[in-house]
Amino acid sequence: MTAPEWNALDALNAAGFPVGSFTAEQCEVFGRLSTAEVDMLVDLKARLDAVEPEVQAHGAVAGAALF
């Protein structure tokens, strides 16, 4: 029995990303993501989901990263 082949889009879809609304270009790019990359995205999305309405209400003053 072999392990199922990795499919990044399936993994993103299972995590609740709106894969069905991705453009063809997005599907091509995101389809190349590794498990490590998808894991980081899924973790960030999980932390976002609980508080998303706050983001939408105050987004005009968001941003804070400095380099």
Partner: protein
Amino acid sequence: MSIPNPTVTGGGAGTGHGTALRMTLQLAAPAVRRAAVHLWRPQGLRRRYLAYLLAMHEVIRASVPLMELAAAGCDRPAAGDPVRGDPARGDPVRGDPVGGDPLGGAAVGGAAVGGDPVRGDPVRAPLRAYLAEHIPEERDHDDWLLADLVAAGGAADRPGRPPGPLAARLVGPQYYWIAHWHPVCLLGYIGALEGNPPSPLLADHLAAATGLCGAAFRTLRHHAQVDAGHSQAVFDLLDRLPLTAPQQRAVRVSGLHTMSALTDLFDQLGAIT
């Protein structure tokens, strides 16, 4: 969760690796924005802004040293790089920063010449040129943050304390990736940070909400004005670079890790009441 369809400058031109990085980082951007919005909520904002300045000083003090390390790394193989074979002969290449992939993907591409990862890597010269051009733009911003801190009523000697683990988690991996794999990894870090700059409205909003003087927001205002252009320069460079598949993946991992660590740092600051 809505995923923006990015308006991509230069999309389809060149290699498109910058476009791909930008699109990938945009998948993670809502989490960073959420953390920043929580950080900037009105109640207790003055205390959090002072803590933010200290935390950003811990981060930004590493910007120029990282760029200098990456520039130097463009001229030498990664430290501890194992002995490699000669791909021109079809030998296997182990731990090769050009062709190998320590991040879990298949080793695709790579152009080591006679086993020399520097001479055979077309990424290094344009990367070095980019860094040489942009290092002066980032110099002394850590001193600006200290001046902002003093203007905000903070103690100028506070940066003498040991940097926190979240700042180290944000910055530290870049030293590892540059030293032990490839300096191009830094572009993921720069793209993530400069791609999530302060809003142009933020400094005025914070000044009104905290009552602090305008001098306390010099660094925020500067980055709100210039970082969009700086991030565009990073993505444009990546759109021109002939990255191997492992290099593309390494840059994306660097960028996504930065988004994750940045979210953690903002969440910690946002927890200050």
